[in-house]
Structures are given as C-alpha cells and as structure tokens.
C-alpha cells in the first residue's frame, strides 16, 4: 500500500450518460507523486474522468484503482482523495477556517490537531489573516487559495483539480500556476489537473494526457507531446500547426495544392497513395523574399498581414489555396510589407506526417483564426 500511495490506474473505463458516451474505454496510469494534466477540448470526457476518481460518478465498465486499491462502488466520502472545484464550492455559511477544518472534523481529528493543521494549511496558501472571513467577502483568487487549503489540509493521496484557475484573470492565473507547481513538488502529492488550456498544462505538468472523444489520444511529458505529437489532433491542439491535406508519397506528402512535403522523421507511417496530412509549426517556417530555388518543402505566396508580439513577429502568408502562419523571432527576422511576394520554406526534419483520419478536426485554417477581428 505505502509505496503505491497516490498512484491511479484506470483500465478500460467507460461512462455513459443516456446514449452519450462521455468516457470510452479509457486507459490511464498516473504515477504516485506526479503532476498529471488531463487536457482536451470541452466534451472530451476529462471532467467526467476526474469525477469518477472523486467518486461522484461510477464507471459503467472497467475499473479504477487508487493507491493500488479497487474503488468500485466506494462513495466519494470514503475515498482518500480531495477535489479543488472549478467554482471553488466553498461553504458560504462557514468561515475560511471552518471550511478548511471541515474534512478534518469529519474524520474526528482532535480539536487541537485541527487548529494546528488549519493554521498550517492557511499559512501554506498565505490566507491565515483572513481565517475568520466568509467566502463572499473574498476575491476569486483568495477563494481559490482557500479551496486549495481545504483540500490539502487532509493530506490526500491524490489531489483532483477541476479547472481551478479558469475563473481567475490572466496575471493571477500565471502566479497561481507557479505556486501550484511549487506546492506539488514540496508536498509530493499526486495532482490530477483538468484543463482545456494547453499553456497551463504545458507549464505545470510532469505528464499530459491529451483527451479526445472520451479516450486518451497521447500521454507523455510536455516536450514529447509538442515535439512528437502522436496524432494530427495532438499536433493541432498543442501549440499551433499549419496543416495540408494530400496523398502520402514514399518520402512524405504530396499536398492537394501541389506543395511537395518531404519528411525525414514521419510521426505516423502512412502507406504511399493513402490520404494523408502534412503539418509544419509556424515557428519552423522560414520566410525569404527571393525564390530559394528548390521545389520541395517550399510554398510561394504573398504577405497578407504582419502582427508584432514583442518577442516574435507573426506573418500571415496568402498562398494559392490557403493562408500559412509563420512566427519569426524578432531578432534578425526578415521585414516584409503586406503584398510583398514571399517564399515559405522549412526543414525536412520539421515536417509532421499523419493519416487523414482527423482531417476534419484540424483543418480549420490556423492563419484565419490568428487574423485580427
């Protein structure tokens, strides 16, 4: 038991609501003491998965083990896990200190121990001065900290966090991300963190489970999911990508607009002649105002728009069939004006190649989204 404390295992877990399959034969291993994010668009089943870990929902099929023990039919109040809720769900009729003490009281911890642990937990989130306030007398950020203290004071084997930063403004959210990560590494408690914000997941997690349609699409550390996305969906969801649809060739992809992609390390093997997707990240695209003189891994167009983001310049290049998004570091970037002819080119090592199965998911033009207005 002790060496497993904090591990989570989901095996072939399925959860249906009526005819809707929220979680579909999901498999997931969470190591003890790791910070794991469940990342995905809304409706991907990440919150349902978390709620099954908390015990608010029971799986229809498959099984879940927490700290090595099966939790089938074990109600939420008997599970050694605690949750930080999306809107905090602090008890409005109790003070901050009473909120934090609630879990300890249920477990019949002695009064003096409760007082000491509540103080310790409030110190940890820097909320001790507000111990006698009611939740409605506090800002969202303060409520968030109390919710965290209320969960952590119980020293759970696993802490579940359901988009806890979603309601905070950007600056506060970034501060809390750093604090959460620090707390997690100090306490060594397993964190399962649900979010739809890929930057949040990338910044904090040891590993990320990217979810789609109720299953895990890829489970890996942030660098791997960025560098080696296992599917077109992951490539489009983590960071941004320019996608082309076409047909697989021996070396890469022949795109429908005629662009010839040669890939030196395809992520997905696609048999030649099959429909395929090629993808290039915006920061991997080089721009040149003169014809580079080769015919592979290049596309010709005209500058449609330039945006300055401080450290990077973003170009939208209009080609015959589509817009291409390119991000260039400000230092040494080629300066072009709208209307200038331009050639986008890239290294063969930067070409991703995927089967065309998820074409519909990723083929919204990223350049169109990036344009102002």
């Amino acid at each position: 038991m002790s060496q497993d404390r904090g591990s989570v295992e989901l095996v072939d877990v399925t959860k249906r609501f009526g005819s809707m399959v929220a979680v579909d034969t999901l498999n997931l291993d969470v190591h003890a003491g790791e910070f794991l994010s469940l990342l995905g668009p809304s409706g991907c089943g990440k919150t349902t998965t978390l709620r099954m870990l908390a015990g608010f929902e029971q799986p229809d099929e498959g099984f879940i083990r927490i700290s090595g023990e099966f939790v089938q039919g074990v109600p939420a109040y008997k599970r050694d896990v605690n949750t930080v809720f999306q809107q905090y769900a602090l008890f409005p009729h109790m003070t901050v200190a009473e909120n934090v003490a609630y879990g300890l009281r249920q477990r019949h911890v002695s009064k003096s121990d409760i007082a000491a642990r509540v103080t310790e937990a409030l110190d940890m989130v820097k909320m001790r001065p507000l111990a006698d306030r009611k939740p409605r007398q506090m800002s969202g950020g303060q409520q968030q900290r109390v919710a965290l203290a209320r969960a952590l004071v119980n020293r759970p084997s696993v802490l579940l966090l359901d988009e806890p930063l979603g309601a905070l403004d950007r600056k506060l959210r970034e501060e809390m991300q750093i604090e959460l990560k620090l707390l997690q590494s100090q306490l060594g408690i397993t964190f399962v963190f649900v979010t739809h914000d890929q930057e949040e997941a990338m910044g904090m997690s040891d590993r990320i489970a990217i979810m789609l349609d109720g299953h895990v699409e890829q489970l890996a550390d942030p660098e791997t999911v960025y560098e080696h996305p296992s599917s077109a969906f992951v490539a489009g969801f983590i960071g941004r990508n320019n996608f082309w649809k076409g047909v697989s060739t021996a070396q890469g992809v022949h795109a429908d607009d005629g662009t010839e992609f040669v890939a030196s390390n395809p992520e997905e093997k696609v048999a030649p002649g099959q429909p395929a997707l090629a993808a290039i990240r915006p920061e991997c695209i080089h721009l040149s105002s003169t014809d580079p003189g080769h015919v592979i891994n290049v596309i010709e167009g005209a500058v449609a728009g330039v945006s300055h983001y401080g450290d990077v310049l973003q170009y939208v290049v209009r080609t015959a069939d589509r817009d291409v998004l390119a991000l260039l570091p400000r230092q040494g970037a080629v300066r072009l004006a709208p209307g200038d002819p331009v050639w986008c080119h890239w290294q063969a090592s930067e070409v991703y190649q995927f089967s065309a199965e998820q074409a519909d998911l990723v083929l919204q033009d990223p350049a169109a989204e990036a344009q102002p207005g």
């Binding site: 109040y77 769900a89 249920q106 009611k134």
Partner: protein
C-alpha cells in the same frame, strides 16, 4: 443639482404618502384599542379598560387559543412536508415534477370557497375525527401552507450550488452529515420564511376555516367576522394590536437568526420577499 433636489424631494413625499396609505388603518386600530367607547367606530377618550376586558372575554381568548394552536401545528406540518417536497423537486427532478408543481399551483389558485366546500364534503364523508376538534382546520391550513413552503424552499434549493454537497462528500461527510451540515443550513432561510408565511396565512384564514370548523370551535378571525351586528368592541382592537406586536417580534427574531447564520441585510430582505 437643484433639479435633482426637486425630484428627490418629490419622491420622498410620494414614499411618505404610500406609507401613510398602507399603515393608517393599522395605526387607527391600535389607537382604538385605547378608546373608552364601546365600539371602535367612535372615539371618546383614552382608556385601557378594554385591555382588561379582553382577558375576561372567554370566547375571545379561546378563539385566539384555537387560532394559535392551529397555526403552530399546521405550520410545523407544512414545514416538514414542504421542505422535503421542495428539496425533492429541486434535487431529483423527473417526469413527476411538472405534474406535482401543477398540483401545488392548483392549490394556490383554486378559490377558497371551492376548496372549503370540497373539503367539507370530503370530511363529512370521512366523519369521526375529521368532524371534531382542531383536526379539520389544521388539515385545511396545512394543505395551502405546505404548498407555499414547497415553492419557497424549491426556489432556494434550485439557487444553491449543487457542488456544495459534492464538496462535503469529497471532504468525507456522509450523505446524512452533508445534509445536516451543508444543505439544511443553506436552505434554512427559505424554511424560516416559508414558516412565517405559513403561520400568517393560517392566522388569517377565514373562508375555508369557516366551512370545516366543527360546532363550538372558532378561530380568532372567524370570531371577529361573526360578531353580531358588526359591532366591534375595542377589546378586539386590543387583541389585534397584540397580534401586530407579536408578528413584528417574530419577524425580528427570524431576521436575527438569519444574521447569526451569516446572511447579509439584502439577503435577509430577499428571503422575506420570497426571492
């Protein structure tokens, strides 16, 4: 600035007029309880003699006792029925919800004269305890009071964050403790407001009460209503004054309880107005 002053003083005058309009009859009644004359329709001079008479008039005092007993018992029953019905409606809605709410609304909109006639014929058919003592009156009052409590509690529960009960369960509270420590305290303002309303409605009721009252059992309003020749003596005004004073005290106590429970002034006001 000047314009603003004119508008705001006009509004002040208007507010004053509304208050005078609403409360003059009540103030008049209170004043008349200190009248020396034998009816409340003519003022002679100040006297407290009718306050003494009030205590000696046994048919008056026993009608008040009947009213209070009926009000307490029917409110208690309505609180139990209405609170759980409201919780069930808000927390476990299903196919039954619409029909159930329909019945409740039907209770509230049916003219009392119809209610009373129907209830009387039903009680006559049942006979026995339904035709003696306070039972028939209590039952009739409980019916409409529980409908009112149900609607108020349901509105409050529907406005509660449903995650709160999950949060309690997440923090190791059994369903029982979660209910008593989280749900019930948060629903309490609605229960108190519903209880006050139920109590008032019961004290107030004339029509259906007069239908089902067994012989020899009279509530205070029905006693006043049945005074012969419409002569209302100041002792009745004295009793009414006592009622007004105790109502104010009850409202004050409930507000105090809510404040203790951590409600803000606006939330307390919202509770009393049923929001």
């Amino acid at each position: 600035m000047k314009r603003y002053f004119t508008v705001s003083s006009a509004l002040g005058v208007w507010t004053g007029a509304v208050i005078v309009f609403l409360f003059t009859p009540i103030a008049f009644l209170v004043a008349m309880s200190f009248n020396d004359y034998k009816s409340i329709f003519k003022w002679t001079h100040f006297s407290t003699r009718w306050w003494g008479h009030m205590m000696q008039n046994t048919s008056l005092t026993s009608s008040v006792r009947v009213s209070l007993e009926v009000a307490f018992v029917s409110t208690a029953l309505a609180l139990i029925l209405g609170t759980f019905a409201g919780l069930a409606l808000a927390k476990r809605p299903g196919k039954w919800t619409a029909g159930f709410v329909g019945i409740i609304l039907l209770i509230l909109v049916t003219p009392e004269i119809v209610d009373g006639a129907g209830q009387l014929s039903w009680f006559v058919l049942l006979g026995g305890p339904f035709r003696t003592g306070l039972t028939p009156i209590v039952l009739v009052h409980t019916v409409f009071s529980s409908a009112v409590v149900t609607l108020i509690v349901r509105a409050r529960v529907a406005g509660l964050d449903e995650r709160l009960e999950e949060a309690a369960a997440d923090l190791f509270a059994t369903p029982r403790r979660a209910f008593f420590e989280v749900t019930l305290p948060l629903v309490m303002p609605a229960v108190l407001a519903g209880g006050m309303l139920a109590f008032t409605l019961s004290l107030d009721n004339v029509v259906s009460t007069s239908f089902v009252s067994p012989a020899g059992v009279t509530t205070f309003p029905n006693y006043v209503f049945g005074l012969s020749g419409g002569i209302i003596r100041p002792e009745v005004a004295a009793m009414a004054t006592l009622f007004i004073a105790s109502t104010l005290a009850a409202v004050g106590l409930v507000a105090l309880a809510l404040r203790r429970g951590g409600q803000s002034g606006t939330e307390i006001a919202a509770t009393f107005t049923g929001n």
